[in-house]
Symmetry: C2
Subunit: 454 residues, 2 copies
């Protein structure tokens, strides 16, 4: 499971946590599961296979889970430490996957610390995969970080067009073309420099070039920093659905330089907050409450608030991924709102809505359905609506979406099993969710009709 | 490591082994490694990481290796058993890869035994991937085997054009298109029905569709039955080189119905024998000697000789793959002749030469280089030439190949590491090889010049 480590110094980059930013070690978040459902069975099997000391589900085991799985160590740094010193010491969240474990470095100015990157580069050749927006901003900086005092390494780069609409096989082939023309070999390292699209594509290229080469993530958007760069999901879209072609492939490290957010457009910033909000809803009530009180700071790009939100999001993701790397069950809960959201992205055309915008609308729909099923209080419906509006995120799908469009895309969702669409829905108090195919189809129809004009 | 198992019956399909077909339990084959070379180091690391009880290399450990790793149990069946009974009981070679272990079933009439396939099908949906040559011959039979007394399973199929020239991304996309249009989900199973091209492409599609679905191999060529269907290498070609895009992805099982060889063209049959000969050269002297005496039976399609050659080849492959799944070192030795051979396939255009034909020419070149380096006796050069001629395989590359063509394709070979081309070469007595970058480049140039007009 995830843990926070602070190498060589007791301080880290959260010098002034926003109010309510302190983290209790007795958080009460838990995964609520319907024992007896097929999903619960698969999760219990998963847990059994991981050893009984790893996690318990609800009831008598809930206390142990809180203390062992969800306990997150945090340290509030000594305010006497200067900001210059602060930026040198990254927070580290570890993704624990046995011999595929890796660190997530989080902090300001990390791209100015060549050692962080260089220690994870294998071989003499690096291919940086980035896009036309990010290349002018950070490519030179990354090349310097890879090569400073390191003359043996040569760096090539490939600059892809920017946007979800280019997350396809044709664009992926440009990465292979460049890698082969540059005569990169199995000991080379691919570096993803950009947002989620770049990370997913570069990761898939790394997974499949010569049957697998080393891979480093340098995410430059909130979306990528809190979600897509962590956990090893890689892939591309098919015209009929999102992320239908891909691999599970873990990076050597994830390097989150929070300074890269300085150049992020507001719309992209907000898109990332959709995933931050998601973690609160599905498993971390205290984090959600913190967001409710501090969303204005996040929207104002307060560095400390951003750093805290990124770190806590990564901790949540790392914990889930460590317990269920290949999405046997638990990991699917990270997809709250994504089935509806993917339908929106596919339906309106890739790149029209940002991923987080579509997920926000999708979460509203999942929450609506959860409420129709009688699984959550109305107050939670209002709180979700409110926080998404604070984050300037959509709270409904675009008007062009029809019930039929939703249904046709959702039919090829990766969570369909033997013809049955399973969904992540909220159930119980804030911070609890279920992943289940056991819900009333009429209620789903009602939700779709409520959000679509036809 | 590999072992032979014979479930529920003491008999199996080798009713009358060809003369010299009996297998001694004290075979003297071994992998010869140059201790002190970088290759030797990586192999030693590999072996250390697998536990000291698995394998030793040369010298004082050679005896233990012979007895523990290479001992292959075989059973000569009771001749009183009728042929009808014989065909019911497959030989099973196990590929031991922890929780990814799987059986290779080998025998006559196995496609008439639905249980063998059905026990490995997960979920309700199956996609059979085959080609225009094989579909008219065996697709109906496979569909029956999958669905007989099994009404819950639905089977879709996609029929690809036949030939190495179609092992590309465009053709692969047809598999994804069909899978998505058929609304296959993560619990579905992909079945590869055909030769090596179909197996590699279907396997890669299975590895990457929805980030991985179940996969079964039904190889219908000698090449696929003795080599490409076993071990989990999947992938497609790039216009600049063979198999440059792919994954390691293990099947649920491999089902070798030797009856499918009845429809195999002579040229394809011979192509597969190139890999059979390879096993003898790199690690199984006794098997090579058996081939020298029995190649005429193999060429005459003697069922027993074929079954024996397939089984012993699979055992050799399974042993190597079990010790080095991801090709850290040892597994690379299975590529004897392949670096030269891939250059031929790429140079003359995919599909012009069959893979085994190119490998045969490549082995002759590797043997020539080994001899120039003084690593093997001239008698071995002659024996290789002789057995390939018996198998009606080429003993030189096509005249259109130039030194420059070889060099440009070999520069992007997967065995290049940090710019250095490593090769599999024979060294020492028959059955010994090295995987090394430590050879005289001038000797390589001489070999290329000896086999090319320009």
């Amino acid at each position: 499971m995830a843990s926070s480590m602070h190498p060589s110094s007791p301080c880290f980059s959260l010098q002034s946590l926003p109010s309510n930013g302190s983290v209790s070690k007795s958080r009460t978040t838990s995964i609520f599961l319907r024992l007896g459902s097929p999903t619960a069975i698969s999760l219990r099997s998963l847990i059994a296979s991981r050893g009984s000391d790893r996690i318990g589900i609800g009831g008598e085991n809930a206390g142990r889970m809180r203390s062992k799985v969800l306990a997150v160590s945090t340290q509030v740094m000594d305010e006497s430490v200067s900001k210059a010193t602060i930026s040198k010491v990254p927070t580290i969240v570890k993704v624990d996957l046995g011999d595929r474990s890796y660190p997530i470095y989080i902090g300001s100015g990390l791209l100015n610390q060549p050692d962080l990157l260089q220690r994870h580069v294998h071989g003499k050749s690096v291919l940086v995969v980035t896009n036309t927006t990010i290349a002018p901003l950070y490519l030179d900086k990354v090349v310097v970080a890879l090569t400073r005092d390191n003359p043996k390494v040569s760096v090539e780069s490939v600059i892809l067009p920017d946007g979800e609409q280019y997350k396809d096989m044709d664009t992926l082939m440009k990465v292979f073309d460049k890698a082969i023309e540059s005569r990169l070999d199995r000991r080379s390292t691919f570096v993803a420099l950009g947002g989620g699209v770049i990370g997913d594509m570069c990761g898939f290229a790394a997974a499949t070039f010569l049957r697998g080469v080393n891979f480093i993530q340098i995410p430059t958007t909130v979306m990528a920093q809190v979600d897509s760069s962590v956990g090893g999901k890689t892939g591309i879209n098919h015209r009929l659905g999102k992320n239908l072609i891909g691999s599970f492939y873990q990076p050597q490290c994830v390097l989150v330089d929070t300074d890269t957010l300085n150049t992020l457009p507001d719309r992209e910033l907000a898109s990332g907050f959709a995933e931050v909000i998601k973690y609160g809803l599905i498993r971390d009530a205290e984090f959600f409450e913190w967001q409710e009180k501090n969303m204005h700071l996040l929207m104002a790009r307060d560095p400390s608030a951003l750093a805290y939100a990124i770190k806590r999001s990564c901790e949540n993701k790392a914990e889930v991924v460590s317990l269920d790397e290949k999405e046997s069950g638990l990991r699917a809960t990270l997809n709250l709102g994504h089935t509806f959201g993917h339908a929106v992205e596919t339906g309106v055309g890739y790149g029209q809505w940002l991923h987080g915008e579509a997920v926000a609308a999708g979460m509203v729909m999942a929450v609506d359905l959860s409420h129709r099923l009688g699984w959550i209080d109305e107050s939670l419906v209002r709180r979700v609506d409110s926080i998404l509006k604070q984050a300037k995120l959509p709270t409904a799908p675009p008007e062009s979406m029809t019930v039929e469009m939703f249904k046709s895309v959702m039919a090829v969702d990766k969570k369909v099993a033997d013809g049955l669409l399973r969904l992540i829905l909220l159930r119980g108090p804030l911070g609890n969710c279920v992943f289940t195919g056991d819900y009333d189809r009429l209620a789903l129809d009602e939700t779709l009709q409520a959000f679509c004009k036809s």
